[in-house]
């Protein structure tokens, strides 16, 4: 099957198995550690089976929104966007370079398909709350709003302002995906899901590598309340910024 990318070129539909290669175009490595791929499975299942957004509908007011709040380590995100045709895979090798739209933190003004610019932690969930409110105010009650945060990002107090308000307001079209690679310095006693449940959210914790479990969690009904999916993956083994291939020389 082929489809059309935003720049008009035809692209072959790419499967999950090709994502490591697309990531290697950015990193120079064919093998990626758990940190680089912590979001990969969840992102793939979302874009492949859940989100109603494509390059053709990327400007449609009624599209589903996906906000990548955890802007660190965006290689998996770029690989999925490229695989889904939002931009050509030819852009991937330029990752992090001066003339590339693909930075180590995404910029919505530069990256086709990116709903927000991120990098500073704790901005995506409040923006997602506002987006959900805005769509509802416009009468667009169908589109879903998704935001991806990390378990360490959850440390930021702004998230807790948003979680408490969204639960109280019953923002049923709001969804938070927490990718949990046990990187929060002090952990989350009682579990991450309990934070959301206490605030009135629906919440479920699943294996972040199990595509069927992710899909079931993403599509679980949650009438009258926002929904959180905690996707648990391997513990983070490396701390620091991603290393671009080109800058290594």
């Amino acid at each position: 099957m082929t489809h059309t990318t935003l720049d008009g070129t035809a692209a072959h539909d790419t499967g999950f198995g090709e994502l490591p290669h697309l990531m290697s175009l950015m990193t120079g490595d064919e093998k990626h550690g758990p940190a680089a791929t912590s979001t990969l499975d969840a992102l793939w299942v979302l874009y492949d089976r859940v989100l109603r957004v494509s390059p053709a509908t990327a400007q449609d007011p009624a599209r589903d929104r996906f906000l990548l709040s955890k802007g660190h380590g965006p290689m998996a995100y770029y690989a999925v966007l490229a695989a889904k045709g939002f931009f050509p895979t030819a852009l991937l090798p330029g990752f992090g370079s001066y003339d590339s739209p693909l930075g180590h933190h995404p910029d919505r003004v530069l990256v086709p398909g990116a709903e927000i610019g991120s990098g500073s932690l704790g901005h995506g969930l409040p923006l997602a709350v506002g987006t959900a409110l805005g769509l509802r105010a416009r009468g667009l009650t169908d589109p879903a709003v998704w935001v991806l945060i990390g378990d360490a990002e959850l440390d930021e107090g702004s998230n807790h302002e948003a979680i408490a308000y969204a639960g109280a307001a019953g923002l049923s079209r709001l969804h938070t995906l927490v990718v949990d690679n046990t990187s929060a310095s002090h952990g989350w006693r009682g579990g991450i899901a309990s934070r959301f449940e206490a605030a009135g959210w629906s919440a479920v914790t699943v294996d972040g590598r199990d595509h069927e479990a992710l899909y079931a969690a993403f599509t679980a009904p949650h009438p009258d309340r926002p929904h959180a999916v905690v996707a648990r993956v391997e513990a983070k083994e490396y701390s620091g910024e991603p290393k671009p291939k080109a800058a290594a020389a």
Partner: protein, 300 residues
């Protein structure tokens, strides 16, 4: 006469009826003024509780969804506390909105320094593309709030205060007004500082300009005023940090040798309560102090 904040509530309530794209975001401050609007437009009058990071983030998110957000609380909690949200959730996301503050530099002196925000305009000056309105009268606030709401996807800050001038001027949301003409120098009064500046310069041979829109800075008006003076001597009297607009005056006058004196609120904490007039005097911004400082500068 109603206050600027009361006018903000009545004008914005009317605009909510007229413009389906408009939405108001509050953080428990100013909620009473929007009761009727919230009943009519429950989806477009949002109170997030005492959560100022969320307040500004929700504003940015509403804009991402195609709305025109009007975000309101005290200046200290709108610009200073969530400053990174202002920087990123509007500027970096490349979306617009209207931030409407109350409280100014010392509207509630008995509340102390926690509720004073004399640095708000200087902070916004570190960001790109913000229009800044500083009305000096509720009628001017009315005009400027309407312009801000209708300004497409512009980023606009409206600084409301209980300090006001006795009469409104015909402000247009862009240009400085010439209130008095003279040849011995130019005094630029910003918003609520005008009455004290007019009293301070009574009988002096100076031009008095009046600014309620300070960003963008009306370079042409300042150049024209300076061209009519014997010396390019400029005094700027601002209701927030002293010197905030001095750089803009220097840029406007880069073609001519000039002197600029920036008067306003000092950085030093006075650690005083009391009344607004006492703080104006304490900052040297009452009419008598201003006259001394202005004449002293022009005589040098």
């Amino acid at each position: 006469m109603d206050t600027m904040r009361e006018r903000f509530a009545s004008v914005t309530t009317q605009l909510l009826d007229e413009d389906p794209r408009l939405a108001v975001v509050l953080a428990d401050i100013g909620v009473d003024g929007f009761r009727s609007a919230q009943e009519r437009h429950p989806g477009r009058v949002v109170n997030v509780g005492i959560r100022e990071q969320l307040l500004v983030g929700v504003g940015g998110g509403l804009a991402l969804a195609g709305m025109r957000p009007v975000v309101h609380t005290f200046a200290s909690f709108l610009v200073e506390r969530p400053f990174e949200q202002v920087k990123l959730d509007f500027g970096h996301q490349d979306v617009g909105g209207v931030l409407v503050s109350a409280g100014g530099s010392y509207d509630w002196p008995a509340g102390g320094f926690t509720h004073m925000a004399p640095g708000d305009v200087a902070l916004l000056d570190s960001l790109d593309g913000w229009t800044v309105h500083v009305p000096g009268h509720p009628d001017e606030a009315d005009t400027l709030l309407r312009r801000a709401a209708a300004a497409g996807d512009d980023k606009v800050y409206v600084r409301l205060s209980v300090q006001t001038n006795g009469t409104p001027r015909p402000v247009d949301g862009a240009r400085f007004l010439t209130v008095r003409e003279g040849t011995g120098g130019v005094v630029l009064a910003v918003g609520p500082m005008l009455d004290n500046v007019l009293a301070a310069t009574e009988g002096l041979d100076v031009t008095v300009l009046y600014a309620t829109t300070v960003r963008p800075f009306d370079d042409a008006a300042l150049r024209a005023a300076v061209a009519g003076a014997t010396a390019a001597d400029v005094v700027i009297v601002e209701p927030y940090h002293e010197g905030t607009s001095t750089r803009h005056a220097n840029d406007a006058l880069e073609h001519v040798p000039h002197r600029v004196l920036g008067l306003g609120v000092g950085r030093r904490e006075l650690r005083r309560y009391g009344q607004l007039d006492e703080h104006l005097a304490g900052q040297g911004l009452d009419a008598r102090s201003l006259r001394e400082r202005i004449t002293g500068f022009l005589a040098r």
